[in-house]
Symmetry: D2
Subunit: 307 residues, 4 copies
């Protein structure tokens, strides 16, 4: 196959303060299917995903990021990537099947920005995923914000360049765009793709490690971004900013917070990326336009609030 190695963001596990409240938000507002609840964790799948789950919420005393898992194309890729990670001096743990329901064996590593990542090759198929025999475009009418899939995470930490280097050199990601302070040659933001998407994960410079800026869900259109905004106002969900567009990725977007304070994004569009595309470079003095293409200015909340 021509899409090889790391295929996509498979799932993310977030911490939430109140699981019932969180279930209402992710199921009824974002529109995910609740797969099940077990041992203090709730599992969700979006209507256009084949695999069992893409979001795990764990009830805890503080919100935030537990770990993000990428799916690879085949089991032997796990050994291949483990070797390359070790070659870069990155410690790798082998996690046998069973830690997460329906998921096969995993390898786990931590980044200089202190984010835990898993790679896995096997997950059970969802019972509510797309049909494959004379399939309708969906089984049940999408509801709430009509999220089609979990799309990516943006993670905060100190040495984003060191973390990005692992994704590029050990895992074959491409850097699609960078936001650079040219005076100090510092990367403020690095956007990485393992696919034709404009980003599959992003790292954002921040004074504290291990933080999550947002988790993001794909929508079908700008029309649905507007509908998401309507849902946000109607149900008094805490809006961050939007509807707007990013300069970086060109995605049309809206940001808001789940009841525990974790930032969510729902977005549509963005260019189709190929690894022969020139890298797009944003200078720090254009950071406003890079992040919020219409407003051309950053907000304190966007730059300082994360979990």
């Amino acid at each position: 196959m021509a899409v090889t190695g790391v295929l996509r963001p498979g799932y993310v596990q977030l911490r939430v303060l109140d699981l019932d409240e969180a279930i209402q938000h992710y199921r009824d507002r974002i529109g995910l299917n609740l797969v099940g609840v077990e041992a203090g964790r709730a599992f969700f799948q979006a209507f256009d995903e084949f695999d069992r789950h893409s979001i795990i919420l764990r009830e805890a005393d503080s919100p935030g990021f537990d770990r993000m898992a990428f799916k690879v194309a085949k089991d032997s890729d796990l050994d291949h990537f483990a070797e390359r990670l070790l070659g870069l001096g990155v410690h790798v743990d082998n996690i046998p099947a069973g830690e997460d329901p329906g998921v096969g064996r995993k390898i786990r590593f931590n980044t200089p920005t202190n984010h835990v990542f898993d790679l896995y090759a096997e997950m059970e198929l969802s019972e509510t995923g797309p049909a494959v025999r004379n399939p309708d475009i969906w089984l049940a009418e999408p509801r709430g914000m009509r999220a089609t899939r979990f799309d990516h995470c943006a993670l905060n930490g100190k040495d984003v360049s060191a973390t990005a280097k692992i994704f590029v050199e050990a895992l074959d990601f491409s850097v699609t765009e960078e936001l650079i302070d040219e005076a100090s040659d510092t990367r403020i933001g690095i956007f990485l793709s393992c696919s034709n998407k404009a980003h599959d994960v992003a790292f954002l410079d921040y004074a504290e490690d291990g933080r999550v800026h947002h988790i993001s869900f794909n929508l079908e259109s700008w029309h649905d971004v507007g509908h998401a905004a309507d849902i946000i106002s109607r149900y008094d969900i805490s809006l961050d900013i939007g509807p707007t567009r990013h300069g970086i990725t060109r995605g049309q977007t809206i940001y808001f917070f789940d009841p525990s304070g974790n930032r969510n994004e729902t977005f549509s569009g963005g260019y189709t990326y190929y690894p022969d595309n020139p890298r797009r470079i944003w200078q720090a003095e254009n950071a406003g336009k890079a992040i919020f293409y219409y407003e051309k200015a950053l907000t304190d909340r966007f730059m300082t609030v994360n979990t």
Copy 2:
């Protein structure tokens, strides 16, 4: 990189009866940029493509398909794929740089359905492609149908299974969907992807080889599909069918003919494909729904007219 080997449909060369008339159609109606005209051929680029050209029109006595070229990730891929093609018994020609302006060396092969394909690794960048330094979302306002890129070809011939086998076994394409006459175990249509797109090339069963059913351009949204329909009526372009949706790929689409009778498609949407996705299977008795999800019936013109 995780998108490896064959990256994407790079360009297609079609025959047209009158080059001036064709230029008006592809430039002013579909909205491509005219790169240049030389020696009876016109070259076009879509506003969101980095490379020099994606469409070549050659003036000739009959319309139809000359050849389609795929871009590969690196020069050594050309040798690698040549070897694998030869391993399948497929004859390979080496075409030195210079046959097409701005394009490096190519390898060329023919399929059982008598379609010529080129692979190449190098093309000059376009002067009208996307900016890469603090880029705006486009340099000039998209015009006409606002085609973002050349997207794929659908080609007609007799032994589509044999042709698809080459793309899968030598070039690492995935079969995303098939339309099957289960009684005779015959493939009526095979849809192949080398990327996250639902298809990059398709082969459709037909009694004559070497034919092109349509070449397709991507649009940003269903809104733009409707706008394309408006353009088609306003300028008396020959409509085939649409706006409608495909069951296969789920793309929202409209078909029409260029002044020489070559069928064009402009479409948006369609699912994001990953190589671990189950293959979607359509039974021949659902061919109507597979092709035209709303009408649930095929038309004679769609099944019998090609060039």
Copy 3:
């Protein structure tokens, strides 16, 4: 007020063969609110309508049109219009409050095309209509096809000119567009507005009187027309034609049939009409483009099937 006299299509009563089946169609697929069922009639309201109901379905042995009711601005308008109808030789019946739940007194007349119309000034407010104090854009998320309102009827009969004359001369409607066979000076279609809408009722030439061609519901956008098409295919609703656009009114539209065979339309857009606008005239030889702006051709089913 500057919108005076006849305000809008208030409601229509149709006959259906099976009330339960019809309720599922109009409530779950078109997305209306079921107000209640009494004495063999079901009453529906669309989410953006203030008044109690806009659709009445009556179970009967054959599908079709019972009557259409227009709301007028004030009670005295009923007497005023009764007088003007009588002045044109049109018989008028006075229907006391109570025939339809929640509706005040009505006046009733019949047309040369044998369609019964009611005028009324009073209807109870809906409990599920828009809020009026710090209102959200909707109370509950629109569902199904997300119809915002009952919009208009198109009715078939022989002498459409004589019927239109009543609406113009007695009720102050404007003719916005006409489809004319200029050779015979015959009106094939007459489109009438009492508002800023491109039409509030239309009369279409047909060999039999008292028929209904379609009843129509407004949608917010072309995006929702596409979504309606998805719903139609997913639930195997009988599609007539669309998504497409009308030349007449410029509305973006899709036609389908309720389970009893009554034709429904859901549409969006269309121009804003003012009574000083020049009348738009379509010649019979352009009837295809007038009705289906993209296809530029009529279909037998559209021209001959009605109830």
Copy 4:
């Protein structure tokens, strides 16, 4: 006709600092047709308007509002409304044909908020307006922001209630929505309609009279609001706020400034108004949500910058 008396906002005359710069903005960015320039004034028409012009720009030393003109249904309406204005104690001037090219006689009055209004019954038809014989949906592809028409003005001044009273009592406008400080029983904003539109003119409480908050243009869809935002960023037009939605009118909107500092709005949607609709009331404590439904907060610039 059922739309009677005052039909619609016909045109507005604004002052601009530099006519050439303003022409580029209104013609190339908003997408109006330039009708002509004479004696320091430029005249514009939107592609979907039948009449000669809807915007007049006059070069002057300061930006701002000269006057707004409403079209009435017939010449005798001018006398009728003059009489009713005089009946309310409002001074009326008769302006003979010729002041504005292509426009018939006018009557003129001033409001307590010191805004000059004209009423007129006759204007020449545009040469670039919609076709009326087998009309295409547009003659030339809409360009720039694709404004379909001049839609309304929002005007600032001290005694907005006294001004609104004139529109209601002398000109038959309806108050569709009010933003009220209930503690002091003060109207902060009054929205008035003479049609099925949610507003044709609005008055906003402000400490200085004779100011214009914004002039507004209609777009076809939320998609086009997004496109307007893209245009604004691409050409470095000064953005005020948006894309967002209003609670009042429910319009989907974006605000920006012309090169002279006059605020423009382009918007789509909003409900269809009928004079029997209950009046929507917003309390001052919900002013944020009333004005910016998503942000639920006002901005200083929006409240204090006008011309």
